[in-house]
């Protein structure tokens, strides 16, 4: 080739690329509209397809949508029973219409029927939809049947890996066979449209129309279409096996097995760009292995968790924070998480809940005052309740007959509720009231010596009652202040009001835990001190404090 002709070729390919760009924009426009007149740009695009290549691919069990993709044209949602586009496109070769209409394969050898909207449903029944719209109707019906209330959606498609292998093979085939022709060079390889993208864009518009909301990449509601195929893994395995046998048998396979070796190579090449130059065109054998059964389609919906924040009060000394089962035996008569989340979950019709709280109290400790912040995470909720509805849930919980707990300021919060609740959780101050008995009568000096305590550091060895599951450590804690409140009619019983750093073991601070917490109320007063009751009266956090 002389220098002169090379220059000319370059110039013409640049012009062609520009032209192709204009065409593809027009095609996008066409897809949005449904007016017949606007079909013309698409028809133009289609008319630029080389008839021989289309016929060639079509005869090799490749469906029309895959042919469109291979030529870099976005798949319009046409019904295959009325291939008007095809007819237009073949206007110049009218005698071939009939021939091509008949060649739409039963199951495409590249997309395995995915872009023909054929699949096997969960009842093991083969389904073939006429158009993307029909498939969208099925999906939208499922969304409605499961009762999701949504304001946007996100579409995810997962295809068996064999489809992308097929795609690569087909591209290689086209490249090898038609690489030297002008129309091929006009089409930049970056125009490749993957089956996954083709399916997504075919479904996007009809789904938006049917679900009355927009598709969004940040939507909390996810539609996931998972296509799987029994053949997929087997075929790949065959390639690998063949590949192995090649290396094992050495010379023999090089001699007779040019096809299998090359096929195996294709598999190894697929992770690179898959379009390495190879001059022998029969290497990329089309048709691919004939596939009769379509992919299995599983359609799943999921909503990202929604969060309810609030504060809880606990009036019972026999209710644990979370469900607590030891050897099949329930500890306590109920749990806070079950009462609260168990009432929220059915209202949102979610799959599951998780309960989180800013710290916790023992089963026999009441939670009073302004309550303790908590967060309920509802997974895969069908419904996000309105403000009014949330108030109803709160009222319902607070009017339960047993009055074990109470909920305040319940509301739907964003995932930032997490940060709010975790913020300062470890530094927070907590106030308690303990009912204490000492082994001698309380004296006035005791009241003074106790109330003079401010910001006192104490050392707590891990209490014996939790030592079996917690690390043995010396834990330094701060007692911010303490007060004694006398109880009329008793000299040895009194109420102890105290404010401590989060994580202080209060029971041990009173009785001393065999001297393992030091100082303790007992050691300060120089007598035996016993704690009979404990209540948390304040968790000093701003989180969920306001209505």
């Amino acid at each position: 080739m002389s220098n002169g002709t090379e220059d000319v070729a370059q110039v013409s390919s640049v012009q062609a690329a520009e032209a192709a760009h204009v065409i593809s924009t027009d095609v996008d426009l066409q897809i949005a509209g449904e007016d017949d007149e606007e079909m013309t740009p698409l028809n133009n695009a289609v008319r630029s397809f080389p008839f021989d290549a289309v016929k060639d691919l079509s005869s090799k069990e490749v469906c029309m949508r895959c042919i469109f993709r291979l030529f870099g044209v976005q798949v319009p949602d046409f019904s295959l029973s009325q291939p008007a586009i095809l007819r237009n496109f073949l206007g110049e070769q009218t005698d071939s219409i009939k021939q091509l209409e008949d060649t739409e394969p039963k199951s495409c050898s590249i997309c395995l029927g995915v872009l023909q909207f054929a699949y096997c449903n969960d009842k093991e029944r083969s389904v073939k939809k006429e158009s993307a719209n029909d498939l969208a109707v099925t999906i939208a019906d499922l969304v409605k049947k499961e009762g999701y209330q949504i304001d946007s959606f996100l579409l995810e498609v997962s295809l068996p890996p064999i489809i992308s292998e097929n795609e690569n093979m087909a591209w290689l085939y086209v490249k090898n066979k038609y690489g030297s022709e002008l129309w091929f060079q006009e089409r930049s390889l970056s125009n490749r449209i993957y089956a996954k993208e083709a399916l997504k864009s075919a479904l996007a518009n009809p789904l938006e129309t049917l679900l009355f909301c927009r598709m969004s990449s940040v939507s909390s509601f996810r539609i996931r279409l998972t296509y799987t195929h029994a053949k997929a893994t087997k075929t790949v395995q065959n390639f690998v096996e063949r590949n192995e046998s090649c290396t094992e048998n050495g010379l023999d396979s090089v001699k007779d097995g040019s096809v299998s070796t090359s096929e195996a190579n294709t598999i190894t090449q697929r992770s690179s760009d898959g379009l390495l130059d190879n001059n022998s065109s029969e290497v990329y054998g089309l048709p691919l292995e004939k596939v009769n059964e379509p992919c299995r389609l599983e359609c799943l919906f999921n909503r990202t968790p929604i969060y309810f924040g609030g504060r809880y009060l606990k009036y019972s000394r026999n209710v644990s924070q979370t469900r607590w089962i030891i050897d099949d035996e329930r500890m306590g008569e109920a749990s806070i998480e079950e009462i609260i989340a168990g009432n929220i979950l059915p209202m949102c019709r979610g799959d599951n809940y998780k309960f989180h709280a800013a710290g916790r109290e023992d089963i026999d400790v009441r939670m009073l005052g302004s309550g303790r912040p908590f967060l309920v995470e509802i997974q895969n909720a069908c419904q996000v309740p309105s403000e009014l509805f949330v108030k109803e849930i709160e009222t319902k919980i607070n009017n339960l007959e047993n009055r074990l707990i109470r909920v305040k300021n319940l509301k739907v919060v964003g995932s930032e509720g997490w940060t709010l609740m975790r913020e300062g959780e470890s530094e927070k101050q907590k106030q308690y009231t303990a009912l204490v008995w000492i082994s001698r009568p309380l004296q006035d000096e005791d009241l003074q010596s106790i109330s003079s305590i401010k910001e006192m550091q104490i050392l707590q060895r891990t209490p014996i009652r939790v030592l079996h599951r917690r690390s043995p450590l010396d834990r330094e804690k701060i007692i911010h202040w303490i007060n004694i409140e006398k109880i009329a009619g008793s000299s040895q019983y009194f109420l102890l009001h105290l404010c401590t750093q989060a994580g202080t073991y209060i029971k041990e601070f009173v009785h001393g835990d065999l001297g393992r917490t030091n100082p303790s109320i007992g050691s300060i007063l120089g007598c035996r001190a016993e704690i009979l009751q404990l209540d948390v009266t304040e968790v000093k956090m701003d989180c969920f404090l306001d209505e």
Partner: protein, 200 residues
């Protein structure tokens, strides 16, 4: 602002105050216990949290020890009130954890999994308590992992004389749950112990 809205704001303010006051009163009611319901002398934390067992004549006559077992399976080991060491003039004067092959107070057990914990048999020596006239070996009584020894006793051996059942405990041992049934059968219950020692 109109008078109405001022009134409304005032009403809201007073409503809020009323509600706060009500909540305050409710809290007070909940916190102050009815005095007549309280026992004259409440059970001690040790009584209510542990079950007491005894090992009498531990390898030698009069070497009586207690095993306080917490519901979580941990066992506190100490000297029973009838231990022969308490009968010596002046009581216990020193405690030495350096017995057997190693110093029992020299191991730092760490982590939830209790790394470094030594595994001892029931007759393994825990420490030696000394009086003015004699010394006595204290044994584990329970087969298991030694979680901690009461090292305050090294400086304050007198805790044994004043409160052997509380601050004067000797050690904390964690037996394997599977071993407990067998260990328990080797120990006396509080009633059996009382009966035995009252009789003698």
């Amino acid at each position: 602002m109109t008078n109405d809205s001022i009134n409304q704001a005032d009403n809201l303010e007073t409503e809020k105050q009323v509600r706060e006051k009500e909540e305050e009163e409710e809290l007070r009611k909940l916190l102050v216990p009815p005095i007549e319901d309280l026992p004259l002398i409440p059970p001690t934390a040790v009584d209510s949290n542990f079950v007491a067992y005894f090992a009498t004549d531990c390898t030698k006559a009069g070497h009586d020890q207690y095993v306080y077992r917490h519901a979580n399976g941990l066992c506190v080991i100490g000297l029973a009130p009838t231990h022969v060491a308490f009968k010596d003039e002046g009581g216990i004067t020193a405690v030495d954890f350096n017995v057997g092959k190693s110093d029992r107070s020299g191991f730092k057990v760490t982590g939830k999994r209790k790394r470094n914990a030594q595994h001892f048999e029931s007759n393994t020596a825990l420490c030696k308590v000394c009086t003015n006239s004699d010394s006595y070996i204290v044994r584990c009584c329970v087969k298991g992992s030694l979680l901690e020894v009461n090292d305050r006793l090294i400086k304050l051996p007198g805790l044994l004389n004043s409160s052997a059942d509380r601050e004067g405990y000797i050690a904390i041992i964690m037996p394997k749950p599977a071993d407990w049934v067998k260990i328990k059968s080797s120990l006396l219950s509080l009633e059996e112990y009382k009966k035995l020692r009252e009789a003698s």
